[in-house]
């Protein structure tokens, strides 16, 4: 039964990770930037949901309010810093977003305090298999909302004008510019959408898991991992590898113990990269 419990937990958690990873894949593919502050945007989104919970509104509304606020946070972030690193060396974007991550962590620490917090959704739990498997309804809710938003975004990217502009810019920014696409605006919108996705994920994390100002980086690493396994712009693969990561994490938690959970995630990142490196080196290629 422990296996069933871990598997269910892992899959439901993985869907949430996949949502964050989708945002990362989007801005990585379009702007060629690796955003280390991704996880901190998630946590910030979570704190927005937590704040409205403190005001007495049900935290589930966070999945609508938080992305709206986060979209503008992302837009502002793009206008302030990211637009200066878009065309530059990738390491510069990594370091710059690393700096942003530190600033975000510290500001959240000031504003929301260093305590571990959780917003109570009071959705109750579902018991399965003679009460041997407990499944919080909030987790089911979060997986459902993640899927809903992901599908909505895919449709938006396919059908809308901005979505088409984003895809065109991802394919070839220069050609898109020649054909009249305002790439600057597209970049800003992409970063905003990415931040909004982080906001949704954060709001869901605030009711399913816990929030703390300094736990952003593991989310960045998880989404990075999912993206390099799944590739850019391949949504089903992102969803599957997200679930795989969720499963891995839950099982690592049960087998190794909770204190090694984060360590296992980071080690898995190293292992995946090393595996890819050896696989590609047979063809004398490397990860691009």
């Amino acid at each position: 039964m422990l296996m069933v419990q871990a598997s269910l937990d892992g899959i439901l958690l993985g869907i949430l990770f996949a949502l964050i990873a989708y945002g990362m894949a989007l801005q990585w593919g379009v702007m060629n930037i690796i955003n280390i502050a991704q996880g901190d945007l998630v946590i910030l989104g979570g704190y927005i949901a937590y704040t409205i919970y403190l005001w007495g509104i049900h935290p589930a509304w966070g999945v609508i309010i938080s992305p709206i606020i986060m979209f503008f946070v992302g837009w502002a972030l793009y206008k302030l810093v990211i637009n200066k690193v878009v065309d530059r060396d990738l390491f510069i974007s990594i370091l710059a977003t690393f700096g942003i991550a530190i600033v975000f962590q510290q500001l959240m620490n000031f504003i929301f305090g260093a305590d571990v917090v959780v917003a109570q959704s009071e959705y109750g739990t579902t018991m399965l298999f003679d009460n041997s498997v407990t499944l919080p309804n909030s987790k089911i809710f979060s997986a459902f909302i993640s899927v809903l938003y992901a599908v909505a975004l895919v449709i938006y990217m396919r059908k809308s004008r901005l979505g088409r502009a984003i895809r065109a810019t991802a394919q070839n920014a220069r050609a898109a510019k020649i054909l009249g696409v305002d790439t600057e605006k597209v970049y800003a919108a992409t970063f905003g959408i990415n931040a909004a996705l982080c906001g949704i994920a954060g709001a869901l994390i605030s009711i399913t898991l816990t929030l703390h100002p300094y736990v952003g980086l593991p989310y960045t690493v998880r989404s990075f991992m999912i993206v390099i396994v799944a590739g850019l712009g391949n949504l089903p693969a992102v969803a599957v590898s997200g679930m795989g990561l969720g499963l891995f994490e839950e099982f690592a938690d049960y087998i190794l113990g909770t204190e090694f959970r984060i360590g296992a995630v980071f080690l898995l990142l190293v292992l995946i990269l090393v595996y890819r490196r050896f696989k590609l080196s047979r063809k004398r290629e490397y990860l691009k």
């Binding site: 530059r88 530190i102 360590g263």
Partner: protein, 352 residues
């Protein structure tokens, strides 16, 4: 002429370094920090500036060296598990001879083992390019911290108290002086080594790898071999620096002191970039400036220092990526031995 100038400069600096703990005896700990920071910045520069493999993972060797020195120093004479379990430093007391023997052997181990570790993981990791390498090493550093925080024998989450300085030495200044001169010796050793590398073919190979690895390989350079050797050199000095810092701080925590990616790990990158990547003096100047800035300002902006740090990173990286030396080089190219004649100048004007 330049030889003589160099001689004056270096002897002046060495004399200043030797006299510093007596001149500013209240700041001995700060000076030790400065030496260690310069060493870290220089070794990072060897890796990130010269080889072009920007790493966040040198903190791994720093923390490894810290744990190894302390463990060897304790383990040579007393049972390590009992020491770390609860206040072993109260039960077991190192004699003076034991303390120095321990720290000597410990530093030796903490130099060699990280270098071996770098060599062992280097083959797998240095095959990654660019930002994949950066993120992989970032993961490695954090994983090491998380895992060290779960291992019982080195104190797990509650930390590891390193052996206190022997009580038989009555002189209260002795501890500060000992660690200062240790770190100063390390600084001189590192500087001499890095300067030697700067004059050698090895540096040209590293630069070739940085500028275009595929071409370097096509020219017949076994890039992997040189990359691993370069990383091992970095790890060697990082481990030593960590060992000295562990003894100085006196307490090792897995994520806040040893594998401190949030502070040390970022500092070394920042210092090297601030001073100028890929120059001999850049990291030295960058580390010194950074240390003065940090010590001077951090008490003024208490609580906001990490915000300032983050903003500083963004500003330096976005607006000042060439660093101080790069800026100087742009401004006064003659000083760097670059001859600019009228033809070049004309070409420059035309470009503009």
């Amino acid at each position: 002429m330049t030889k003589q100038k160099d001689l004056i400069l270096y002897s002046g600096l060495i004399i200043l370094g030797l006299a510093a703990p007596f001149l500013f005896s209240a700041f001995k700990v700060q000076l030790t920090y400065l030496c260690v920071l310069i060493v870290l910045a220089m070794t990072w520069n060897l890796q990130g500036g010269e080889m072009g493999y920007n790493t966040f993972g040198n903190i791994l060797f720093y923390g490894l060296g810290m744990y190894l020195t302390a463990s060897v120093q304790v383990g040579m004479f007393f049972p390590l598990a009992e020491w770390t379990e609860s206040g072993g430093e109260k039960t077991f007391v190192h004699t003076t001879a034991q303390y120095f023997q321990g720290i000597g052997v410990g530093l030796l181990v903490s130099a060699i083992v990280p270098a071996i570790v770098a060599g062992a993981i280097g083959y797998a990791i240095l095959g990654l390019r660019g930002h994949y390498f950066a993120i992989c090493t970032l993961g490695l550093g954090i994983a090491a911290g998380e895992i060290a925080g779960g291992i019982e024998i080195i104190g797990a989450g509650q930390g590891f108290t390193t052996p206190p300085f022997p009580a038989e030495i009555v002189d209260t200044e002795a501890r500060g002086k000992f660690f200062y001169f240790l770190s100063f010796a390390l600084l001189i050793g590192t500087f001499v080594f890095v300067k030697y590398i700067y004059g050698s073919r090895f540096r040209l190979i590293l630069n070739a790898i940085r500028d275009n690895e595929d071409k370097a390989e096509a020219m017949g350079i076994q890039t992997m071999k040189y990359k691993i050797v370069g990383w091992m050199c970095s790890a060697f000095f990082c481990g030593l620096a960590g060992g000295i810092m562990g003894g100085l701080i006196g307490y090792i925590d897995s994520t806040d002191v040893a594998f401190d990616g949030r502070e040390m790990g970022v500092f070394m990158v920042l210092m090297a970039i601030l001073g100028g990547k890929g120059t001999l003096w850049g990291p030295v100047i960058g580390a010194t400036l950074f240390h003065f800035f940090k010590e001077g300002l951090w008490t003024l902006i208490l609580g906001w220092q990490y915000v300032a740090l983050g903003v500083l990173i963004v500003v330096i990286v976005v607006y000042f990526p060439e660093g101080l030396m790069g800026w100087l080089r742009e401004k006064y190219p003659e000083r760097f031995g670059e001859v600019i004649d009228d033809k070049d100048r004309k070409a420059q004007v035309e470009l503009k």
